[in-house]
Amino acid sequence: MSKPHRLPAGGLVDRGASLAFSFDGKRYAGHPGDTLASALLANGVKLVGRSFKYHRPRGVLTAGFEEPNALVELRSGARREPNTKATVAELFDGLEARSQNRWPSLAFDLLAVNQLASPAFVAGFYYKTFMWPASFWEKLYEPMIRRAAGLGRAAEAADPDSYEKTTAHCDLLVIGGGAGGLAAALAAGRAGARVIIADEDFVLGGRLNAERRSVGDVASADWAAQAAAELASLPEVTVLTRTTVTSVHDGGVYGALERVSDHLAQPLSHQPRQRFWRIVAKRSVLASGALERPIPFGNNDRPGVMLAGAVRTYINRFGVAPGKRAVVYANNDDAAATVADLVAAGCEVAAVVDARGDASALQATAKAAGALLVFGRTVARAYGGRVVEGCEIADARGDTFNVPCDLIAVSGGWSPAIQLTNHLNGRPAWDDRRAAFLPGVTPPGMTVVGSANGDFGLAETFATGARAGAEAAAAEGFSGAGFELPSVEPEAGETYGDGPWRPTIKRGKAFVDFQNDVTVSDVELSAREGFRSVEHLKRYTTLGMATDQGKTSNVVGLALMAEITGKSIPDTGVTMNRPPYTPVAIGALAGAHRHKEFRPTRLPPSHFWAEEQGAVFTETGQWMRAAYFPRRGEADWFETMVREVETVRTKVGVYDASTLGKIDIHGPDAATLLDKVYVNAFASLAVGKARYGLMLREDGVAMDDGTTTRLGDQHFYMTTTTANAGAVMRHLEFAKQWLWPELDVHFASVTDQWAQYAIAGPRSRDVVAALVDPGFDVSNEALPYMGATELTVCGGVKARLFRLSFSGELAYELAVPARYGDAMIRAIVKAGEPFGICPYGAEALAVMRIEKGHAAGPELNGNTTGADLGMGRMMSKKKDFIGRTLAGREGLADPSRPALVGFRPVDRTARLRSGAHFVARGAEPTAANDEGYMTSTAYSPSNGHWIGLGFLARGASRMGEIVRAYDPVRDGDVEVEVVSPVFVDPEGARLRA
């Protein structure tokens, strides 16, 4: 295939190898070292995309991440990547790309009719219309607007590639691998400092690879390659190419995205597609260079209009001539290099247009190129249908003439790439001389060098980079062989460009923000309507809000607004850049945390055994708990739950309670501390006894509950709810370390140390007796209800045995070291077989605790007090405890507050549902009549009907009253009777048996 624009020699592409790729289904070839953009240009493809609003034809404007136009969909299917910048998409064999935002095809885009309506489609037009009739907005207008929105399409299936996140530490992070960055990294690296140098490109060198310069006695690109090779050889230097430093955070933390595999058709086996780096750097050098900006003129978005620096990049680095006959349009002396490079590449330079009144510095160059030199004039517009065919040049009076060309190389000056200096709110400072924003207050530890700091010359860039690198190394105690500045020839003239910010005469749309289709007229309209601060300008016109984040447009738009309003640029505002510097794939920021591995999974010691039993599991926070243990022939969870409950109530069952938080509390002040965190007294608890305790927050609301056992005079064993284990531990440490630092008490989480099994049911003592080693007495006399003892089981395994009951039956909790947890539950089941034991899960447990009226998560919902829960009398009046004082506030002590009571359906066959609200019988179900809500419901096998717990206004005084349980979201409306919350064995005879 012919590549009409590929130069015969030069650049960093490997002409000996060919890479096949396709664009919009058509096949092309490029070379290793190409980007998609350079390969397309080499193939003579200029039309690459359509613009957002007007669907105007667009080509390649830049050669980097600032590209606003050449966005494509890369790859296909689940790997489809919308809005990918062709200018940085590294070419690989088999690459597939498609243009976006066009229908039916790129060349023939019917939506380009939008251009016809464009006189109405100005900035903010939608705020002024689509309001009548109101119903049309949802049905007609908005769907229409939404369909037109967006550029590319997201993939529809789960991303098949993996991502990795990693953390790196260094003495010095060098951001950017151009001249300044290389100098900084060499200076610090040679001294022995730990250095990371990151560059977004796939080769180091930055503009050293894009310009025809000499460094020392070699070509600039060769010098860069040598420097890169040396850095790679230094043991404490990490070179990250294809890596963009995307964000700066407090504390010297930087985010960086490494595109590990984007230059391959697919990641290699086990390799991530991308890796997100958190870099913790003691210091950093920002050597991010500068971004060239365009000059607005009519049709300045036509394919064939390209930034002059990019033109040089395509010629010098990629060996591609982006045109045959060029016009160079500039406001600075950089144009000389552009003209020279074009000529060296065999292109004709038809004209050099210098917007400045004096173009003496360009005279020789233009003459040598045989180009017409025009100064004090501007390009009024480009002409041509889908690509540039020429330009119209105007003087101040509006007289014009045409110059045919197929390339307009534009240079409006350079904007230092200071984006990262803004991330910690450092406001940039406008520099009139350089006509650019320079870094203002930089993030702590960051030094900005080279053109990023407004020092556009190569010699200065080397010098400032080397100095910053050496200083960073020295600050961390490294010194030694530094970086000797190479000799470079000085630049011709100066590269500061200051306008014109709008064309002298209006001919067609002159774009400021290419991607969002914001024109000079839009900025003028914004000013006219009072949207004059930069914040209003951005929001009203969407200037700078596109995927390029306004890298080429923000300064132009701001300067234009300043000119229109007659204010200075600083008075008009400052464009603050927010992270990330360039857009980052969401997958990369998520890393490996997706699907089942989104969050850790905690497994109790019986998990493997429960899997063997065919248990169905439920997520409880991070824990997996067995919900129920279905048996063959059981139709559903309900049938299983009923069997499990009935087995416990009549025989015996076993449940893994290991997920409860367990805290060992040691120390002479352990009892004192417990008295302060629980509402009830613990100092009086005897050794060998357990007690239920309720904790409040300081605001008087219930926080957590559980049992605490005194194992020794100075040793307690606390259990917490599964959900609050971590929070309670922090709360205890807070009480000890901050509230009462004098207390000598220590906490150790032993949640994972003990496998703890509830053995519950009338035959539980028989099962326990079969397990404990001879010599231990588990009789009711030796181990009464709420008793606890340490003993051994199954031939010498040390264990703790508690006479606790959540189910309301005679019950024990047996704790053994977790390594025996699997064997223990097998032994319990085996020992229980003669008594008809069955394992039961969280569902059956929940039913039994509701039958007993025990509060759990749904009742301890962060808004209920001890009194609401019916535990008002438990709250000690003899001591201070956390929450005591504020629990007495009138709003919390109000007797009309909803209080915990039980409910049963009047129609005993009716089902109850948690979340229903209570309304008095006969009252309308309105907010005014809302009297509380159901918190927990269950079918009670013991009662033969559904039962519920809930909070009802003045509940305790309404026993026997019938109210409605109103549940409109589930079409429920059941009459229920207010009853005691204890549905089984209210005297507690069973658990004391």
Binding site: H249, D250, G251, G252, V253, R278, V280, L424, P444, E698, D699, G726, M729, R730, E733, F734, K736, Q737, W738, L739, P741, E742, D880, R884, T885, L886, G888, R889
Partner: protein, 96 residues
């Protein structure tokens, strides 16, 4: 943000749990105006835009509670102290 735990060294924010203002002191529950004092202690905050003394727990580290003095406009950390030491000094001061 990175916090220099006096015990563990400098660690990332993700290891720490925040509580809030460290200048408020739990009132004497036996005082006459205890309820009002507790309301202020629990709910009212200076919330300054500047230097802020605040409690953090090194929750995914050594479990120590820390008093961090930080400028909440810049996130610059002035000091990190062991909360128990600060509390001990506070209580000794109150006892004098």
């Amino acid at each position: 943000m990175r916090i220099a735990c006096p015990h563990c060294g400098t660690r990332g924010l993700d290891e720490f749990a925040y509580l809030g203002d460290a200048t408020v002191v739990r009132p004497d529950p036996s005082a006459e105006n205890a309820e009002t004092a507790f309301v202020e202690y629990v709910y009212l905050r200076d919330n300054p835009a500047g230097r802020h003394r605040e409690l953090w727990s090194h929750a995914l580290g050594c479990q120590s509670w820390l008093v961090v003095t930080r400028d909440v406009r810049t996130h610059a950390i002035e000091s990190v102290e062991n909360a128990r030491d600060v509390a001990t000094a506070r209580d000794q001061g109150a006892g004098q």
